[in-house]
């Protein structure tokens, strides 16, 4: 049967809708550890503050912090009093001094227990895995409260990895479906009708004006990939699944790094000429300008990284804080009004998701265009033809 876009879309929608009810964390062993968990939480709260409302605020803060970070398990909701967590655990893949260890993150029991695998002991602390020498050893903390134990290399399949893999598969199926539907006729059918105007928009408004008619084809693949990847990840981050991918600075750093590599590897000879040996400038200044220009090439991807990260995390923090305010003001007026406000802000967040994806792509195209275009004054006084870009 041909894998049509509609079938894939319906399957994925059904899967996501049914997924929360299909999986349960191991409840039997949870209840024994939950008392220690609750006692520890209560102790920290009682020690810090005694007021009821301030208690809520610190809980909300911890909730927001936990949801902004990556996690080794899918935790949809937890019943605090009974200590049952609903979600499913993700595999943990560690490379510990050359040893390959794979196990389920349910061994950590939400960070309470020390996992014991093949004689090594691992503890989960704020979603980072540390290696302990025995089951009872506590983490040695330094002045700031960060543990100083050694960490194995963590290649686990975490929530963010799952989201990115799902996005990649989704993009693959959607776009191959669209490409296949062109064999039947010039107009796309089904979900392709949403994708085609977006693709044409990227080509006509973003790629061609910035990169130029002659060379835009080479970079269209990268621009389209970045646009749809960032867009779908932003939209996934807005769902209640609690997966915050583009609000993670490591991921935006990688995306900015890719843009940096694409611009520099596809760059013209004139571009490098401008960086390393700035024309029409005295020789001493040329040498002084070299490090400044190299730093200048780094600031633009750095700004890309910070812009996407800050916009998306700020949006998530605002939405979660507003929802948390419902729990601080527990009355009949505050609840619906904060809910309505959160709904309004979420609609703005959808706009921000599209906008940030578009801006990331537009600025990448701008940087590529600046690197790839031929300088007319260069050809005058250097009298050489422009070099072919490396990327084909």
């Amino acid at each position: 049967m041909v894998l049509s876009g509609k079938l894939i879309k319906n399957t994925l929608t059904a899967f996501f809708a049914v997924m929360p009810s299909l999986f349960f964390a191991n409840q039997a062993t949870d209840t024994t550890h939950v008392h220690a968990h609750n006692a520890e939480h209560a102790a920290t709260h009682a020690h810090a503050e005694s007021h009821g409302a301030v208690n809520e605020k610190s809980e909300i803060k911890a909730f927001i912090d936990h949801h902004l970070k990556d996690s080794h398990e899918f935790n949809f909701f937890a019943d605090g009093e009974e200590g049952k967590h609903f979600g499913f655990a993700l595999p943990v893949i560690l490379i510990d001094n050359g040893d390959f260890k794979v196990f389920s993150s349910s061994e950590f029991h939400h960070g309470e227990k020390v996992a014991q695998i093949d004689g090594n002991y691992y503890k989960l602390h704020h979603e980072k895995i540390y290696k302990l020498k025995s089951a009872d050893e506590a983490l040695t903390l330094d002045a700031h409260g960060h543990p100083t134990n050694e960490k194995p290399l963590d290649f686990s399949i975490t929530k963010n990895v799952v989201a990115m893999l799902v996005t990649a598969l989704l993009m693959f199926f959607l776009f191959t479906g669209l490409a296949r539907s062109y064999k039947k006729g010039p107009l796309p059918t089904g979900f392709g009708r949403v994708l085609e105007p977006l693709i044409l928009f990227i080509r006509d408004e973003v790629a061609i004006p910035n990169i130029g008619e002659k060379k835009y084809r080479k970079f269209m693949g990268y621009l389209l990939t970045v646009f749809f990847f960032v867009l779908i990840l932003n939209l996934i981050g807005l769902t209640p699944l609690g997966i915050n991918v583009t609000g993670n600075i490591a991921i935006t750093a990688c995306l900015a790094l890719f843009t940096y590599l694409v611009t520099n590897l596809g760059a013209n000879k004139g571009y490098w000429h401008h960086i390393f040996w700035m024309p029409d400038v005295p020789v001493l200044m040329k040498i002084a300008l070299i490090p400044i220009e190299i730093l200048g090439t780094l600031t633009k991807p750095f700004a890309l990284m910070i812009r996407l990260y800050a916009n998306i995390s700020a949006g998530h923090i605002v939405v979660m804080s507003l929802l948390g305010l419902i729990y601080v003001f527990k009355n009949w007026i505050a609840g619906p009004s904060f809910f309505g406000l959160t709904l309004f802000i979420s609609v703005i967040e959808i706009l921000v998701a599209f906008l940030q994806a578009f801006v990331f792509t537009m600025l990448s195209a701008l940087f590529i265009g600046m690197a790839v275009q031929d300088h007319h004054h260069e050809e005058d006084h250097d009298a050489h033809t422009e070099e072919e870009p490396i990327i084909i």
Partner: protein
């Protein structure tokens, strides 16, 4: 957040608001002069707004 953090954040918001207001105003004037170029002006306005917001958010995070 302590007092210097909040004051810094407030200043950043003022700066961003003023900047965006100026961009929006210029964009409105330009569209009023040449209604045919409205599409291009809108695109440029969105880009500059995003750049400005990027700076504002970066400062907000530092504050």
């Amino acid at each position: 957040m302590e007092i210097p953090g909040i004051v810094g954040a407030g200043l950043v918001v003022i700066g961003a608001g003023l900047g965006l207001g100026k961009i929006g105003g210029s964009a409105m004037d330009a569209i009023a002069r040449q209604p045919e170029a409205a599409g291009k002006i809108q695109t440029a306005m969105i880009i500059i707004a995003a750049l400005l917001e990027g700076v504002a958010f970066a400062a907000l995070f530092a504050a």
